[in-house]
C-alpha cells in the first residue's frame, strides 16, 4: 500500500471522527463563552483611598476624644457602682475603635483626640448627676453615629466602610442605653438621632 493512499484514508477517518465530535465540541465551546457582559461591574477597592484615609483619621480622633471624655466621667463621682461596668464598657469600646482605625491606617503613633470635641463637652462629663452625665454621653454617641454615617456616604474602600459600620451600629446602641439611663423613656428620645455630624473642617 503506498503512503499517499494510507494518508488519504487516515485523513478520511479523521474527518469522520471530527464530524462526529463536532456537535459535542461546539456545545462545549458555547459553554465556555463569557457570560452576558452587561452583568459585569467594577468592584470597589478594599483598601482605603487617600481621601478615605483622611476621613478615617478624623474618625479616629473623634473616637479618642470620646475615650478622653469617658475617662473624665469615670474619674468623677457621678457614676453609681452598678453603672460603672456600662460606662467602662463604652469607654473601652471607643478605645478599641481608635486602635482599629489606627491599625487600618497603619499609623503607629496615637494622634491627639479631637481637641474641639473634648473642650466642648468636658464640663458636661464632669457633672456629678448621673442623668446629666448620661444625657451628655447620649449626645456624644449620637454625634459619633451621625459623623460615621456621613462618612459612610463618602468612603470608597470596603475595609474602611465595613469597620465604620461595625462601630456605628454599637454607638447607636450606646445612645439608646445612655438615653435610658438619663431617664428617657420616650420612644422618640430613644430612637431618633438629630445630631449634626462633625467634619474635619467643622471639627
Amino acid at each position: 500500500m503506498d503512503g499517499g493512499l494510507r494518508r488519504r484514508l487516515i485523513g478520511a477517518g479523521m474527518l469522520g471522527l471530527a464530524g462526529a465530535l463536532l456537535p459535542s465540541l461546539a456545545s462545549q465551546a458555547g459553554a465556555s463563552a463569557p457570560p452576558d457582559e452587561s452583568t459585569t461591574t467594577t468592584a470597589p477597592p478594599r483598601r482605603p483611598t487617600t481621601d478615605d484615609a483622611a476621613m478615617l483619621a478624623f474618625g479616629r480622633e473623634v473616637e479618642l476624644a470620646a475615650v478622653s471624655l469617658y475617662d473624665t466621667a469615670l474619674r468623677g463621682d457621678a457614676i453609681p457602682e452598678e453603672l460603672r461596668p456600662t460606662f467602662q464598657f463604652i469607654r473601652q469600646s471607643h478605645l478599641s475603635y481608635g486602635q482599629s482605625l489606627g491599625a487600618l491606617l497603619g499609623q503607629p503613633a496615637p494622634p491627639a483626640p479631637l481637641a474641639s470635641l473634648v473642650e466642648e463637652y468636658r464640663s458636661a462629663f464632669e457633672v456629678s448627676d448621673i442623668e446629666e452625665l448620661a444625657a451628655a454621653g447620649a449626645t456624644l454617641e449620637n454625634i459619633a453615629v451621625a459623623t460615621h454615617t456621613e462618612m459612610l456616604g463618602e468612603l470608597v474602600g470596603i475595609n474602611g466602610a465595613t469597620l465604620i459600620a461595625s462601630i456605628l451600629v454599637i454607638e447607636s446602641r450606646n445612645a439608646a442605653v445612655l438615653t435610658n439611663i438619663a431617664g428617657g423613656a420616650d420612644l422618640d428620645a430613644l430612637l431618633l438621632n438629630d445630631a449634626e455630624p462633625l467634619t474635619a473642617e467643622k471639627g
Binding site: 468612603l155 454599637i170 447607636s172 446602641r173 439608646a176
Partner: protein
Amino acid sequence: MNDLNNAELRRALRDMGATAQSDHRAMRTSLRALFDSDATADQRRAALVGRRRFLTIGGLSVATATVIAACGGTDSPGAARVGLAPTRTDLPDASPNDIVYLRTASSIEYSAIAVYDLVIGNTDLLAAELQDAAKRFRDDHVEHATIFEDLTKDLGGEAWTCGNPRIDRFLVAPVIGMIVGDEATDTPPSDDPQRDTAAFAHALENLAGETYQMFVGLLSEPALRKTTIQVGAAEVRHAAILAMAITGTPEGYVPPADAGEPPVFPVAYAIPSQFGSLSGQQLVVGAADELGVRRPISVDTPSNNTFVFEYMTPEC
C-alpha cells in the same frame, strides 16, 4: 410480567456474544494486515478497502467518536438513565448585585412587619407594656421598607413588597408555631408565649441590623451604604430597647466581664459586643421537650440562599 422467557433470554445473550466475537476477529485481521511487515501492499489495500474490512474500520471510527463524544459536554437535559425521572430544571443564571441586596432588605422589613402585625393587640402573645414599642417598631419597618423599595426602583429593579421567602419559611413559621403551637407538626404551645415573642422580636431586630451592617461590605455605591446603615442603626436601637425590657436594667445594658456558664435562654443585652457582630445569634423559644430540653435556633445573617434575586417573583 416478563416479555421474554428464560430460553429466549439465553438465546439473545448467545447471539450478542457471537456478534461481539465476530467483530473482534474482523478487527484483529484488519490490524494484522495493516501493520504486519510481511504483508504485501495489495494485502494491506485489501484489508482496508475490502467491503467487510472497510465497514469494520468505519464502524470502529464511529464507535470511537461516539465514546469520546459521550465523555464530553452535552446540552442534553441529563445523564443517560433507565426508567422515568423528572426533567432537570437548571437554576436561573443570577448573581447578587445592589438590586438583589435592596430587595432582600425590603423583604426582611416585610417579614418583621408580618410578625408585629401578628402580635400587636394580642397581649397573650406580647406583654401590654411592649405593645406601644411594637406599634412604633412596626411603623418604622414600614418606613424602612419604603426606603428600600424606592432605592430598588431607582436602580431599575422591581421592588420587593413581600416577606423574605426563606426567612418566612424556615424561621418565622416554625418559631410562631413553637410559640402558639402547631398541630400539623405536633408542636405544643410555649409555656411562656410573652417571653418567647419578645425574644423573637429582639432576634428579628438584631437580624435586620446585622444584615444591613453586612450589606455595607457588599453594596457598590457609598450612597447606598449610607442609607442602608442609617436603617441598620435604627434597627439596633429597636433591639436595644427590647433587650432592656427583656433583661431589665442595668443587667441588660452590657454583658458582664465574667459571663460564666451560658444560661438556657440567651440573655439579651442592649450592647452585646464592642463591635457590630455578623455571626448571628441563638434563639430559644417554645416548650421544653419530654426530656426538659429546649433546642436553640440559629438566626443567621442572610446568605445567597436567602437573597431575593431578580428572577424571583413575589407570592404574597
